[in-house]
Structures are given as structure tokens and as C-alpha cells.
Symmetry: C2
Subunit: 229 residues, 2 copies
Amino acid sequence: MPAMTETKSITADKIASHLSQAVHEHRLQPGAKLREDEVCDLFGVSRTIVRQALRSMEFEGLLTIEKNRGAFVSKPTLKEAQEVFQARALLEPSTARAAAMRANAGDIEMLERHIKDEHVALDQDEAGLALKLSGDFHLEIARIADQQTIEQFLRQLISRSSLVIALYWRRRNALCESNAHHALVDALRNGDGDSAEELMKGHLLDIFSQLDLRERAEGSTSLRDALRL
Amino acid sequence: MPAMTETKSITADKIASHLSQAVHEHRLQPGAKLREDEVCDLFGVSRTIVRQALRSMEFEGLLTIEKNRGAFVSKPTLKEAQEVFQARALLEPSTARAAAMRANAGDIEMLERHIKDEHVALDQDEAGLALKLSGDFHLEIARIADQQTIEQFLRQLISRSSLVIALYWRRRNALCESNAHHALVDALRNGDGDSAEELMKGHLLDIFSQLDLRERAEGSTSLRDALRL
DNA sequence: TACTCACTTTTTGTATACAATATTTTTTAT
DNA sequence: ATAAAAAATATTGTATACAAAAAGTGAGTA
């Protein structure tokens, strides 16, 4: 008897999140083109759905859709890169403060798991995955702060940060920021809003200071490979 | 010889901005349903385009699309209302400061025109239009500050503010805030960043303090009337 | 070789047909 | 007359067909 493993009902959201993950992990590089038919074949849906997914990713800033030319992974300019971190600097410190006031034991545990996963990913040379997890850590703090509106903006900003890092990150090896994350968790655990706010501010400045000013050449990746389908 | 008055090429963007304006001016109230066919007839395009427009308005927070049920003008909850103004309080004061550093004579002139238009609208009992212009004033400041990322977020926040005001505004008569706008323009003209930041902070608090906690009953409007088509 | 023009192929944009779901109306039974 | 069930209608969701635009190809010319 054949197994009923029909997953079925692939939604635009699922496609978008699959593609987004690939962008976040730098398996899809800025500038890469996402042809509609190719995505259709990969996920087995019609162009209607794929176009919905691409459109939503455009709204999030991950893709840039050029009329009659197609959807490309966005290549933030230097000015946009600066703006992204300026905006984060305005939103995240006070969010960290609010999170410190609300975090419970379960929240702390989840954050620590995030950090652990990051380490594992780094140990396995999965820098892309580690970067994705690092972004999720920041989002998780907004969730703990119970600020959905800000969380939504932060999601976009972190997505764009991932593109910025793909283009402007100085060294290719490690993200030495897990210490900062640890310190943040400590502040949250102690309900120390002042520290949380300051640590977050410093952490963002630290990341920003590690960006390089020069532009980088884009690499082209096979869509199929990038998605691991 | 017949006049070549073919406007032609009605894009999803045009439809979205037309509909958005109607929401901003409270001609379309929170809870109102936007049927696809109706919008199609009004603008003379296929559902494909209309659906694009509605989807983009959903991303901006103006509409809520319920699966298999349709698109409705969003009805922000009280918590969402608070979040919107919390987010604005984080973003706008520092944006006003930046604008004070960059505003030139043309910028000031444009802001003053905005204020004048607001007054005219109020004198003609076009409270909806005045509200729209008031929102544009805030957006204009972000534009002067040359912060596109923040401007984009602010656009969404101001859209949602309009819904919040439709639902939770205390008195129906006047928006007595034009003084605040005047003071802001003065600060910008003088390049006084400190004042601009403080004034904006106070202005937002002032608006927020005038919101009522109770929920309101929704009114239903004919889509055709609301759009004046 | 380098260039351009025409032609072919590929890819995206829009409208429409059909399917699935929700809503309204009618029928039927108590 | 009321309520439940069933049918009819209206509305949204998805796939597909066709149109329009862009990208690619190759012959011909200087």
C-alpha cells in the first residue's frame, strides 16, 4: 500500500519562506534572478502562486522586480545599507528593553537554544545558516517584547541586513557576535532593561562597524542548488 | 477629429493609491468590504490587476484579506493602535531632527503649503482631506530627512494611524494640531534639530492622548460613492 | 572582427475560464 | 411561524491561454 505522503497545498507563503531562507543563508546571492517558470517547476504550482510569492518578497525588500524583466535578489546600495542599520538602531534598543521586562523562563530557554544552534552551525561551517539564526535571535527578542508592529518592521530590516552582509561584510570567516548575544540574554534574564538597551545599541554599532565600503561582484548560483530541491 | 484623451494603462499602483486615498480620507471606513468585481468595474481592468492592488494594500496594513472571504478595510485593535504610535514615537523625532539639518528653502515652502492646504480643507469641512494632508506633512519631513527606509515604514504607520483615528478619535470636529505643525516648520527653518525632535515627540504624544479607548461601530459606505467615480 | 538588422525564442504581463468556497435564498419539516 | 436543510447564487482562488516585451541567434555588411 503506497504511503499517503501527499504534502499538498503549497501556498505562496511556503514558497516565499523557502526562497527567503535561501536568500538569508546566502545560497541565493544579491543579483540572482528568479525566473517564474523555474520556481513553478521546483514547487509544482502555477505562475499565479509563484508571482504572489515573489511579490510578497518584493514588499519585504528581499527582491526587486523590474517590469518585463523579472525578479532579482535585491542589491542594497551603500546608502540603503546605512539606512537599514540606522533604523535598527532606532527600533531595537528600546525593544530589547521591553523584552527584558517581559521575558519569562521559556523565553530565555528559547534564546539560549538559538545561540547554541548558532554555534553548531558555525562549527559545521554553515555560515549562512548561522547568519539566519542570528537574525532570528533578534526577531525573537521583538516577539518577547510583544511588539508586533515593530517585529514586522524588524523582519524586513533583518532581511535587508542579510543582503547588506552578503554584499558588504568584511571578513568571510566567523561572526564573532555570539558573545554579544550571550550578554543580551543575561540582561534579559535579570530583567535589566537598561543593560539590554545599551547592549543592543552597542551590538548593532559593532555589526555596522564591520561592514566594508567597497562594492562586491555578484556570484551566480543555480536556483535548484540554492534551494536544495 | 476625436480627442486622444485615452488615459489608458491603469496600473495596480494607481488603483491602490486611489483606494488608499479613500481610506485615508475616511470615505471608506474600517470594516468596509472591497469586492473585486466592483473594483474591476470601477477602474475597467481585470481581476488580476485589482488583486495586485488589494494585496499591496494588505502589505501596507490598510486592508485585511480573509481567505475565501475578501478584502476589508482593516480595523486595528487597541493594542495595534498603541503599537502604531509607539513605533512612530521611536522613528519620527530623530527623523525630524535629521530633517532640520537638511531642510532648504524649497522644503520649507512646501511644508507651509501643506499647512495652508490643511486649513483650507478644514474651512470647507473636508475633515477627511485635512487628515490626509496632515499625514502627508509627516511623510514630507521624512522625505526631507532623506531617509527612504524610515519613510517607507512611516508611510505604513501613517496609513494605520488614519485607521486608528477613524476608530478611536475622540471628537469629530477639528484637528487642532496645525499649531504643532507650524512650530515644527519653524524649527526646521532655523535648523534647530533639538527643538524639532522635541516638538515631534510632544506632537505625537498629543495626538495619542486624544484617542478614546472605546470601540466604535462601523458604518457602511457605497464603494462607488466613496471613490467618487 | 565588429556591428546591425531581422527573426526566433524565451520570459513576463494580463485577461479569462474554471474550481472551490462562502453567502443567500428557497424549500421542507416540525 | 421557526428552524433546519437544500439548492441557487455570488465571490474568491487557481490554472491556463494569449499578448507584449525582452533576450538571444545568425546572416549580412563594412
